[in-house]
C-alpha cells in the first residue's frame, strides 16, 4: 500500500514550527557539555607538570632529611617560614627556629615568638648561623657573640644558659674559641 505524502505546504509549516521554535545555534564542540568531560582526563602535559612537582618535592625532602647541614637548615627555615605564613603551628617542624628573621616573630604564634627573640639558646644550630643567611640580630659586625653560646654545652644544655650570649657576651667568648 503506497504511503501518504504530506503536501508541500504542510511540510513548510512543519519546518517553520521546528525552525522558529528551536533556532539553531549549535555550540562549538569546544563549548559543548561533553568537552568539559574531556578536560577532566589528565593530559600528558599535566602529567609532566605533576611529575616535575613531585620530583622537586622529593628532592627537597631528601635535602631536608639527609642533606648536608647547611642546605638542610635552609630548607628547614624555608618550610618553617611557609608554615608560619600559612598559619600552621610549626613548632614541631623545625629543629632550628632561631634563625627566623624579625618578620617571623608574628603575633600569631606564641610558641614561636619567644624562641625568635631568644635565639642564642638553641645551641646546636647557631654554629651554622654566621655563615648562613643570618639575621640582623646576630649582627653583621660581631662574629663573636654567636659562636660563644653554643660550644659550651654542645647539646641540649644550651637551654640552661638562657640569654647570656649577646649581652653578657664575653662570658662565653673564651669557651667559644674552641667551637666552630
Amino acid at each position: 500500500m503506497p504511503e501518504r505524502e504530506l503536501s508541500e505546504q504542510i511540510r513548510r509549516r512543519l519546518s517553520a514550527a521546528l525552525d522558529d521554535g528551536a533556532p539553531l545555534v549549535a555550540p562549538l564542540p569546544s563549548q559543548a557539555r561533553f568537552a568539559t568531560l574531556h578536560g577532566a582526563t589528565p593530559s600528558p602535559r599535566w602529567r609532566l607538570r605533576a611529575l616535575t612537582v613531585a620530583a622537586a618535592a622529593a628532592g627537597i625532602a631528601v635535602v631536608a632529611f639527609a642533606g648536608s647541614p647547611q642546605p638542610r637548615q635552609w630548607v628547614v627555615q624555608t618550610v618553617n617560614g611557609i608554615t608560619k605564613q600559612v598559619g600552621i603551628p610549626a613548632g614541631s617542624v623545625s629543629p632550628s627556629p632561631r634563625d627566623e628573621s624579625p618578620t617571623s616573630g608574628q603575633a600569631n604564634e606564641p610558641t614561636e615568638s619567644p624562641e625568635a627573640t631568644q635565639e642564642p639558646r638553641e645551641s646546636p644550630e647557631p654554629a651554622e648561623s654566621p655563615d648562613g643567611d643570618d639575621t640582623p640580630q646576630s649582627g653583621p659586625g660581631q662574629p663573636q657573640p654567636s659562636p660563644t653560646a653554643e660550644p659550651s654545652d654542645g647539646g641540649g644544655g644550651g637551654d640552661h644558659s638562657p640569654e647570656p650570649t649577646p649581652s653578657s657576651g664575653d662570658g662565653g667568648s673564651d669557651s667559644g674559641g674552641d667551637g666552630r
Binding site: P2, E3, R4, E5, L6, S7, E8, Q9, I10, R11, R13, L14, S15, A16, A17, L18, D20, G21, A22, P23, L24, A26, P29, A32, R33, F34, L37, H38
Partner: protein, 200 residues
C-alpha cells in the same frame, strides 16, 4: 532538505576526539529538531541534546564501528528525551495535584493558531513516532533510511508514520493526514473532512 544525516562519510574511530567533534557538528542540528518535536520545549531539547552527547562521549571509547554512529547517537538522544518526558510528566502530575481546588487559569486566546500548536501536537505523540515523523517530513529521510538509522523494520517505520499522520490530522486538521502520491489533489479539500485550521 536532503537526508543529510545519511552520509557521514569518514570512518569514525572510537575514542577519537576529532571524529567525535565531527559527529557532533554533523548530527547536532538534526537531533535538536527531533528532540524539540519530542519534548515540545526548545530549552529542554537543547539540554537533552547536550546530555545525549555527554553520554555518547562517555561511551565513545567502547563504540563498535560496525554500527552507524548516527544511529547510535540518534538512539541515545531519543532515549534521553524519553527520560526527560517521563520526568516532566511526573512534574506535571505534581503540579496538577498542587493546583487542585484552585480555579484553573484560562487558556490564552493568543495561543490558538500559532506554529506552537504544531510543536505541541508533535510533543503529544509517542517519542519514537514523533522522531520518525520529523526525520521523514522535515529532514527528508525515506523509510528505508529511517529504518536503518533506528535499527527497525521499514514496516515499523511506516506504521509509526501512519500513526503520526492520524494523530496530527485529529489535532491540526485533515491536511496533516497527507495524500496518496499518485493523486493530483494537492490543496483540494475533501467534502467530509475538517478544515478548521488555517495555515497561518
Amino acid at each position: 532538505m536532503g537526508a543529510e544525516g545519511e552520509a557521514t562519510s569518514a570512518a569514525s574511530r572510537p575514542g577519537n576526539r576529532d571524529d567525535f567533534d565531527r559527529l557532533y557538528r554533523e548530527n547536532y542540528p538534526r537531533l535538536l529538531r527531533i528532540l524539540y518535536a519530542i519534548t515540545g520545549d526548545a530549552a529542554a531539547a537543547e539540554d537533552c541534546v547536550q546530555e545525549a552527547f555527554m553520554k555518547a562521549w562517555r561511551a565513545w571509547p567502547r563504540f563498535r564501528p560496525e554500527r552507524a554512529p548516527e544511529g547510535w547517537l540518534h538512539q541515545i538522544a531519543v532515549n534521553t528525551a524519553i527520560s526527560y518526558r517521563r520526568r516532566a510528566k511526573l512534574r506535571s502530575v505534581g503540579e496538577i495535584l498542587r493546583r487542585l481546588g484552585r480555579p484553573a487559569a484560562g487558556r490564552d486566546p493568543g495561543d490558538a493558531a500559532t506554529v506552537a500548536d504544531v510543536v505541541k501536537a508533535l510533543a503529544a505523540l509517542p517519542p519514537r513516532v514523533a522522531a520518525d515523523f520529523v526525520l521523514r517530513y522535515h529532514h527528508g529521510y525515506n523509510n528505508r533510511e529511517i529504518a536503518r538509522l533506528e535499527g527497525v523494520s521499514e514496516r515499523t517505520v511506516g506504521a509509526r508514520l501512519a500513526q503520526a499522520r492520524d494523530e496530527l490530522s485529529r489535532r491540526l486538521g485533515p491536511e496533516w493526514r497527507g495524500e496518496l502520491p499518485t493523486s493530483k489533489t494537492a490543496g483540494v479539500h475533501f467534502p467530509g473532512e475538517r478544515s478548521g485550521v488555517s495555515d497561518a
